[in-house]
């Protein structure tokens, strides 16, 4: 199963240096999920030849414009392109009013249904899909703002081909895949399931921590995730400015990653005051070596 984050926008507040406001496409197997939707997200999906029509779930972290202003355009384009499938939209209170007001004045009656799920500030599981779950993460920003944790469900045990007796029937293979033990026609145990199978792959997980100041209680919520996105609006010499504006520095993002013992950290939400992003990487790696930059158009595979 693929588990890939594609960066659609990496900048904070205002666009600059060809960097755009926040948006990410997350692909888990056949499912496409959109996380935040800054202005121009639909154009960048087009440019990357990603089909927006395949998105079934959209998650909006908060109602600062750089995280959602592309949403109405995207939803409208899906309508104009004849979408029929339901869309599930998760976001803070007020997003429904914003959408409704705009569709009212454009006299738009969508040809598909949007299920709007209000996301509260209490961390909880908000989606239980076939192969993954999504829960919210507590952030600390100037307005109602939540992160999202995407977690694969545990898979099944995998048949160990090296140990498989050559005489096994198709019926036996089917039972093995179902996790059952094997018996002979008389009902005697032939093989225990765990003797012929390997444990399931470790479930992968992705934590998206949108705008937040340094918030240590986050550590418990993202402990051990495969990939952590943590905003890094500033470099650490601007940590006072970061605190004032409820944002984080690259060093602070890396500190959360280290304390939570995550596998990998991806930085992003860069302030427009920085043209060069290399100092973000250098600063973060001093604290947490397995850090990368979010760069628009790039895929990050969750392993």
């Amino acid at each position: 199963l693929s588990f890939i984050v594609t960066i659609l926008g990496s900048n904070s507040a205002t666009p600059a240096f060809n960097r755009n406001p926040t948006s990410q496409l997350l692909r888990i197997g056949q499912e496409q999920l959109l996380i935040d939707c800054g202005e121009g997200t639909q154009m960048r999906l087009l440019a990357l030849k990603q089909r927006a029509s395949r998105i079934r779930y959209i998650f909006i972290s908060h109602l600062h414009g750089d995280h959602y202003l592309g949403l109405v355009g995207l939803l409208s384009s899906l309508h104009l392109n004849g979408r029929e499938e339901d869309m599930h939209l998760f976001g803070p209170p007020g997003l429904d009013e914003i959408l409704t007001t705009q569709f009212k004045y454009s006299n738009t009656y969508l040809c598909y249904r949007i299920h709007f799920h209000v996301v509260s500030t209490t961390p909880e599981t908000i989606l239980d899909a076939e192969s993954f779950t999504v829960s919210t993460l507590p952030l600390s920003h100037r307005i109602h703002c939540m992160g999202f944790l995407f977690r694969e469900k545990p898979g099944k045990r995998r048949i160990n081909k090296d140990l498989l007796p050559p005489t096994l029937s198709v019926h036996h293979l089917k039972r093995l895949k179902e996790g059952k033990d094997l018996f002979d026609p008389a009902g005697n145990l032939l093989y225990r399931n765990e003797d012929l199978t390997l444990p399931p792959r470790l479930p992968r997980s992705y934590a998206f921590c949108s705008d937040t100041r340094y918030e240590e209680r986050l550590v418990d919520y993202v402990r051990g995730v495969s990939l952590l996105y943590h905003e890094s609006t500033f470099l650490d010499d601007q940590r006072e400015r970061a605190a004032e504006t409820f944002h984080s520095t690259a060093r602070q993002a890396a500190t959360i990653a280290r304390l939570a013992e995550v596998d990998k950290l991806v930085l992003g939400h860069y302030s427009s005051r920085y043209r060069d992003l290399v100092p973000f990487l250098t600063e973060a790696r001093e604290v947490f070596p397995n850090a990368v930059l979010s760069i628009e158009g790039e895929d990050i595979e969750v392993e």
Copy 2:
């Protein structure tokens, strides 16, 4: 005085083929005016190195998303960049509610003032600036929708250097520029103003006709303008589809241009069904030869 239209977006409804939704920057001398503001307009201003901070007047023709969804992002970025100067915003009823709702949820208190001027469906003068006026044009679309006519004010008579007597004093030159006749100290007429000056340049004008079906009463309103922008969403073989959706074809846009005897026509608002735009030009020029395509990033000088 410069009088230049810069195309920021040329496509209809949804973005396609690197074409973006409608927006144009109009520069009249030192003034910068923005006409419609589709999603991503602020990014295209940046890419063209046009300073959004110099815009003082914004005109929104109607509340279909492809004509205004970039507005909140642009206004927010101006705020974040510290704008202090007032902004004048002209648009249909409801635009104020849309903006207010979004700024409420983002908890944004702009550091500059927006004067919102509601544009009715009755053609009228809506702005009387130092060097130009703006009035509305009646269009026929599915929702409340207006065009805009930008008209230079008549200039002053211009001194004809070829006829100027070499003995004229600075005082006399000043009087000439003010349109006055010249007298000797005894009060006798020396020269009549019109004998030493040329008539003022013909005032230039630009009519922006946003989304509309073929609407012949428009002809009287745009008669003789220097430059007419008239939407051409479809080619003429789709004129039934155009009528149904309250849009026009390239042939219909050219017909309005011919009937109104304008100097030049610019086409735009192309449907995403067309990759190649040359057929629009060919079709229009069969009816009205001085037609051009709107191409994003290009300047069209009004002469």
